[in-house]
Amino acid sequence: MGQEAITLFQLNQRIKGIIDDALLTSIWVKAEIGELRVNRNGHCYLDLIEKSDDTDQLKARSRAMIWARNFRMLKAYFESTTGQSLTTGLKVLVKVSVQFQEVFGMSLVISDIDPSYTMGDLARKRREVLLKLEEEGVLEMNKELQLADVIQKIAIISSPTAAGYGDFVDQLETNHWGIKFYHHLFPAVMQGENAESSIAEAFDKVFEYVGFFDAVVLIRGGGASIDLLCFDSYWVAYHLAQFPLPVITGIGHERDESVADLVANTTLKTPTAVAAFLIERAGAFIQIIDEKSAWIADIARERLQQEKQRTENLASAYVPLVKMDLQKRQARLERQVGRLPVTVSRRLGDAFNKLSRIADKSGSLSIQIIRGERNSLKTNLQKVSTLPFKRFLEEDRKLKYLEQTAVLNDPVKLLKKGYSLSYVNGQLVKDVSLVKKGDQITTRISNGEIKGVVEMVNKKNNNNKY
């Protein structure tokens, strides 16, 4: 063949030259930490990867490293800012320079890291998890479970080796109330890549005894690591939220609550706090029972005293009542007795008075009648003494009248006055026509008669009176 060839070293030298010429230094790169390890010298070696958003397929991969001197500084800065250890699975924004070494090939030397990018990413992921849980309607499920008044039987999910676990158990068993707690550990890896599935597995185990336990305690011993990624994981939260027993978390963290904390029934900062909570809750129950029973005792005693008082009050009330009643009746009776003589003597007095009035009246009426009769007798007497004299006067007058009338008719009297009576043939002449010449006429006067003959008769026309 005789083709011209260069050595690998030469090739690598050439690549190094190209990369160096490209001046790929101080470039901010977004990537995910695929793997991370720190060697004895304190240098940190990482795999930076990029996955496809939808398929999760690896799109890019590159080795990277942080020099020990730099790494100590960046790690502290990162962890203090994010509250999260720099670990696999985190998305980071790092400032890199591309380096090519003939022996090791290409690697990215990280000189700076921007924690705010990671924080933003973590927050976004958390939000996504929470949103998903909420959409599935499981977010509040565990919270809705009622915590027993006394949580006496406890399933613990923890790393068995964690110091936090030991302290927790110790605290429960030596509680000052003397309360007996029953607990069983369901071990789980609480950090790292397996944490998620390990915790989920532990929950599954607890589920087998779900009727036995009062609650599940999820605690993480306070180690150096602050790898809390698993507690933000969807699967852990999903298990936890839907667990039929209330879950109490004591994960121990500095910053925002993890998703696990958010969905747990009760969230406390540390395992110690969880133990204290359980002890105090049971203690409070004892206190409540003691208080209520003391209260009941008080009420019972008070009630009995009241009833005693009531009975005695009634007993003492009715004696005077009866006596008063009898007295009242006696008084009423005696009042009536008192009325009797008054009424009777008034009645009799009235009757006596009436009789006196009657006697008086009959007297005065009699006198009145007699007086009346006397008066009428007097009147009669007066009449009888006047009436006859009136009569006498009348009779007298009458006689006078009669006498006068008689006298007036006496013819003797008329003759005496000069009147005369003429007779022809013995007849009193009253009509001149009955007299004729030659008739014998006798005229009578008072003291004798005159006889003659009629010579002439003259007749008056109208008046033929004497």
Binding site: E395, D396, L399, L402, N409, D410
Partner: protein, 66 residues
């Protein structure tokens, strides 16, 4: 003179009868004057009777008042 038995009333009646006859011209002049005389007698009789009666009444009344 009227008879003793003649009552006051009879006397008055007789007088009145005479007066009636006088007025009706039934009487003769001679009878007339005779009747006038009779009337006069009767009147006197009556007057006496009245007087007597009055005295009697007065006497009775006087007795009663005593």
């Amino acid at each position: 003179m009227p008879k003793k038995k003649l009552s006051y009333n009879e006397a008055i009646t007789e007088i009145e009868e005479i007066l009636e006859r006088m007025e009706s011209d039934e009487l003769d002049v001679d009878e007339l004057s005779e009747k006038v005389k009779r009337v006069s007698e009767l009147v006197t009789y009556c007057r006496n009777k009245l007087k007597t009666t009055e005295e009697e009444v007065e006497k009775v009344l006087k007795e009663m008042e005593e």
